[in-house]
Amino acid sequence: MKINLTINGKSRTLEIHPSETLLETLRNNGFNGVKFGCGTGDCGACVILLNGEPVNSCQILTAAVEAESITTIEGIGSMDKPHPIQEELVKAGAIQCGYCTPGIVLSAYALLKSNLNPSIDEIKNGIDSHLCRCTGYVKIIEGIKNAAERMSSSPKHCFGNKSQ
């Protein structure tokens, strides 16, 4: 079956199987920043933004997001132009294997878009979907806090992508 949706600000028409998950569709179409972790919604590696809100793409059938807007990590930043959240996570030493990082960046992005001055508890709640088996969470929380402080000086620049 065919489905129309917007991915990272661009309209796409994709051929999908009716049983296919959004995680499978995205990876099959080159959005490899979204990761398969547990497949049961427990680890957060597959988190993407659906209409600006973090969701587990392994829990969604692609056919259910007809005409909706998807943002993957590729729509947030790139190797050449990383998003401030990505830069601050690197600076804080919050990344080792990096497998959980795309999902965490997207959850942090959604959190900071609604609250640029989050408390530590609000950050913990904002990333409560994510398991990181390398760093623990102290450095991740520190990186998000630093990103919030940096982004609060120019929020328009940091949330400027029309896809979100």
């Binding site: 919604g41 809100e53 969701v55 059938l61 259910a64 409560d128 979907s129």
Partner: protein
């Protein structure tokens, strides 16, 4: 995991959805989070419920009406000011942020997964569940949980929460924030002239299904809200939790008593 799905139906009314369901072999799809928890589910077709206009929270003279496709996130963010905040607490503590953005109250009620926090909360609030289809009726929550009327040709459409002018308290215990709860407890108390006038206590994730504790409720009714007898009566509660590999029956049984006593302390 869903397999063999061939069609997606996108009805724009409850009647349209029910006529598709009558064909058989189709599964309603709202949040979608019940389908990927292990095991294969075969379905010839899926019915997308998102265009049925069942995503709302309305206030009426008698209480709050919640559409079945309303997400936990929206209930958690809703400004319940009276005892109805039990439901807000239950939804805000369930699962994770990204799952609460998907899980719907109707979906959680129709499948009643072991991780659902809402049965205890709805029991303490005396909620009613409206169903359309072959079992069309408005079920009290206790009857709904007992009879399990969802038969493949019925849809939950609305949840009614009566006005609750008293105190509503909800506790949930899990080993980690995101884990399934080992026990959750919802307590609703109305006090008049310093005495307990109305009391509803419900426990979930402790017994095979969530239920009220009518004997305890009856013994507490009429007591002064600060009475020392409350703790004694709660301590005498006999409850036999289902086994859990994570915590002993004694621990979980004791936890319920601590939660109930804590609720009274909070009110008193």
């Amino acid at each position: 995991m869903l397999v063999n799905v061939k069609n997606w139906y996108r009805p724009e009314s409850v009647t349209g959805a029910l006529s598709v369901m009558k064909k058989g072999g189709v599964i309603p799809y709202a949040g979608g989070t019940s389908f990927h928890r292990g095991g294969k589910i075969t379905a010839a077709g899926m019915i997308d419920l998102r265009k049925l206009d069942l995503d709302f929270i309305h206030e009426t003279e008698s209480g709050t009406t919640i559409g079945a496709c309303t997400r936990f996130k929206d209930i958690a963010n809703y400004d319940f000011t009276d005892g109805r905040k039990i439901l807000k607490e239950a939804c805000s503590q369930a699962a994770s942020t990204s799952l609460r953005n998907l899980i719907t109250i109707g979906g959680s009620l129709s499948s009643i997964p072991p991780w659902s926090n809402i049965p205890a909360a709805l029991l303490a609030l005396n909620a009613e569940i409206e169903i359309a289809g072959t079992k069309a009726s408005k079920f009290g929550i206790e009857k709904f949980l007992t009879e399990k009327p969802m038969d493949g040709t019925s849809l939950i459409t609305r949840i009614y929460i009566p006005k609750s002018s008293g105190f509503g308290i909800y506790y949930r215990y899990s080993k980690t924030r995101f884990d399934y709860s080992l026990v959750d407890t919802a307590v609703y108390i109305e006090v008049k002239d310093e005495k307990i006038e109305t009391i509803r206590i419900a426990v979930g994730n402790l017994l095979p299904k969530a239920r009220r504790l009518p004997n305890l409720e009856e013994s507490l009714k009429g007591l002064p809200i600060n009475s020392e007898r409350i703790a004694d009566l709660v301590d005498k509660l006999e409850i036999n939790p289902t086994s859990s590999s994570i915590a002993s029956k004694e621990f979980r049984s004791n936890l319920v008593k601590v939660f109930i006593k804590r609720a009274f302390k909070q009110v008193g």
